[in-house]
Amino acid sequence: MSVTTENAPKVKASQGYFGRAMKRVEDPRLIKGIATYVDDLKIPGVLHAEFVRSPHANAKIISIKTDTAKKLRGVIGIFTGADVNEKVGTIPCASPIPGGKTPEHTVLAGARVYFVGHPVAVVVAETRTIARDALDLTDVDYEPLPAVIDPEKALEKDSPLTHPELGTNVAFTWSLPGGDVDGAFKEADSVLKLRIVHPRLTPMAIEPRGCAASWHAGESSLTLWTSTQIPHLVRTLLPGLIRIPENKLRVVAPEVGGGFGSKLNLYAEEAVVSHLAMRLDRPVKWIEGRRENAAATVHGRDQIADNEIAIQKDGTVLAIRSKIIADVGSYCQLLTPAIPTLTGLMLCGCYKLKAVRVDVTGVHTNKMSTDAYRGAGRPEAAYMIERLMDLVASELGLDPVEVRLKNMPESTEFPLTTATGLLYDSGNYQHALEKAQELAEWPKLIKERDAARKAGRLFGIGVSTYVEICALGPSKIMAAGGWEWGCVRIEISGKVTVITGATPHGQGQETSFAQIAADWLGVPIEDIVVLRGDTATAHFGRDTYGSRATALGGSAIVMSIEKIVEKAKTLAAALLKSTPKEIEFKDGKFFVNGDGKNALGWGQLASEAYIAKNLPPGLEPGLEASSFFEPPNCTFPFGTHIVAVDVDRETGQVNILKYIAVDDCGKQVNPLLVEGQVQGGIAQSVGAALMEHTVYDENGQLLTGEFMDYAIPRAKDIPDFILGSTETPSPSNPLGVKGVGEAGTIGATPAIANAVVDALSPLGIRHLDLPFTPERVWRAIQEKGGGS
């Protein structure tokens, strides 16, 4: 392991599971159809909840008539805001900006609704079908009001207000004065401007949200099963809402069918379902429909940025000024304000800028809240800085790759403090770029483009060299702690149970954590079981988001193993009539230096540790250890993506001809899983670049309310990728890993955008906003008279 001495693990890995591409241990249950997602739970006597939701973006509730619905056989009850809001606390925002204005976010609507999909009432019935019938019989009378839709117009004086009681549509403002920006702009040879609109996106996990709650009256305790990325954070936050002590709440994230940030929240439905289970003393389940998911699960992105970039003639970039308007929607959900601030912090990209000034204005509109969506602030930053680098190149007539190289730090300059105040841990950006160019057969690709252009084709090449921030992150920057917890238990039989507080939900850590434990303990991987996702077994945890699980959760496991090995050495010394210092540990065996014949294995030691007849004085029975890993810093993975596209003049259709990605996520525990993360991440950005856009009309009606209207990529939309990687270990954790869950998404959008703009550049097009749908591209071509 090439990690810094400071963090180097004391126990050496053996067997070579770490770093090996292995198929997953979690797969058999999933491919046989016997895994348990929330909707698959069989809970005796369970009732079903369905939510009455607002069809209006902004309206007063005049009346809610439930009499007819209540008479329906099998309906247990219908509860409105008036019945519930007094008894349940409000939905929290964990990342408020000082000075920001926060509307009271009740779990059900009060006197008004603020977005299409706003929950107004909840029906509870014996079956889901009856609950749905009762929904249709519930009559809500609304008085529609003008909706606040355009975030820029929302800032004008005469704009209607999303939340009149706040007296403004400004949710918060945040500024980052990074360095001497004015000085840098004065020094510049020229200043370029570019307005960049990043559209609103819908995460669209294939499993919608859902939860089930069961009240155990005898113990006065509640179990909540929920399709979430964050059972531990839910357990921290929910007790305050439903008014039970934390230690009376167990939260279970069973199999979770995709999250991408959209299940990194505490949602009103989780609180309402929990409350109803307690109130009715019956288990209650709610499963979100697809239309509900599109309307009432958080959206992502939605930023408008007016950028100025100060440059020198030779392509040196000095500074950036960016005014970002973030459309946060109706409420600030858990991390809503944190997303655009992360954009600001990452705006330097992988370049040595002298200064960066970012001013973010979060604006309330009558839409669903925006919050984390795969990348969560970083894709916006990478998209902006990478579009700006191409703009600089085109303005100065320079090669976009040369401009990037000119502004990159050398690998020897790390750790590197950025103008925005982050400390980039390690990097070799040039190496990743070089490797990507090699895989792309760069000189040949350029020739191909030039020949295609001569032949009249709209052929473009795009490059993005990105850096992201992962393994979030030290507790000092995280609202509720940024550590991760892990526990390792050698059972009496010698089998190994690993418990992680990270909550993988498809990423595959049941496998990669078993790989780590098998190597560090020197046991066969088949002897290891990894448990996750249940606060009753994983006593602590900060869960999975921000590409943190392996870097932090994996490190907590290594720390625990080191403790166990120390204890096992003491025990072995007593049994072998030696001293702990003389005990060697290798390949799962403990022996006195040089005496491999009389070695003790984990099975023998565990048996002695628990039967506890021969323990040396002072040694506690058992072989178990748990650890909190607190990282000293975040990690900063990086890479280069290169894309070649062909744009059809007649239709505006963009075809990806070639896609190359070289990602550096530090050490890789399981390269097969890394490849899966990269491929999936790129695919989501192919969607964001070419087809995805969450659209509300001028009345705030959601036009992209299901898969029919919100296009996500299908198999035919994804070309083959050529993938490579470089390896720059992170010094921030003992594994040297950086994280890879979001890399593909962050690197891909700007590379595709740069390729499309390059393809259209012969027509005089210098920028085009996402997504590059055939219609948008065709219109741009027509405007420039470039149709055939």
């Binding site: 996990a205 490849e675 899966g676 299908r714 198999a715 994804i718």
Partner: protein, 152 residues
């Protein structure tokens, strides 16, 4: 209705509006077939009805009366995985696993119709199934793996 599910005859009185997927999940207790959109777009609920891949959220249970239905639970025999299931495992063709049962059933039919499909033919064949995690490339590898396995 009388529906033979994974070889076992299931007889039940059902409401006319009961969907086939509800019949499978709620009446038969076979929860491997998932619901992702209820509009026939995502394909998570795909099962085989008389050998044809069908989105079971757009078919009524009564329409399947007298049919043979195969769900993902019925694919492996004698504890041995179907080559398509094996392909998904070997090639890391799944992450969260939610779309997987539908994806697998579609792939089974695809390979029954074309034993050695090209990448483009696989892409075309999977067009009715959405996956948000994998980016499809490992799924294509999985189907190709199963095709090769089927030929040997």
């Amino acid at each position: 209705v009388k529906i033979r599910v994974n070889g076992m005859l299931r007889e039940s009185e059902v409401e006319p509006r009961l969907l086939l997927v509800q019949f499978l999940r709620e009446v038969c207790g076979l929860t491997g077939t998932h619901v992702g959109c209820e509009t026939g777009i995502c394909g998570a609920c795909t099962v085989l009805v008389d050998g044809n891949a069908v989105k079971s959220c757009t078919m009524l249970a009564v329409q399947a009366d007298g049919s043979e239905v195969t769900t993902v639970e019925g694919l492996s025999s004698n504890g041995k995985l179907h080559p398509v299931q094996e392909g998904f495992w070997e090639c890391h063709g799944l992450q969260c696993g939610y779309c997987t049962p539908g994806m697998i059933m579609t792939a089974v039919q695809l390979l029954e119709r074309n034993g050695s499909p090209s990448h483009d033919e696989i892409r075309h064949g999977l067009d009715g199934n959405l996956c948000r995690c994998t980016g499809y490339l490992h799924i294509i590898d999985a189907v190709e793996y199963a095709a090769k396995k089927g030929r040997t």
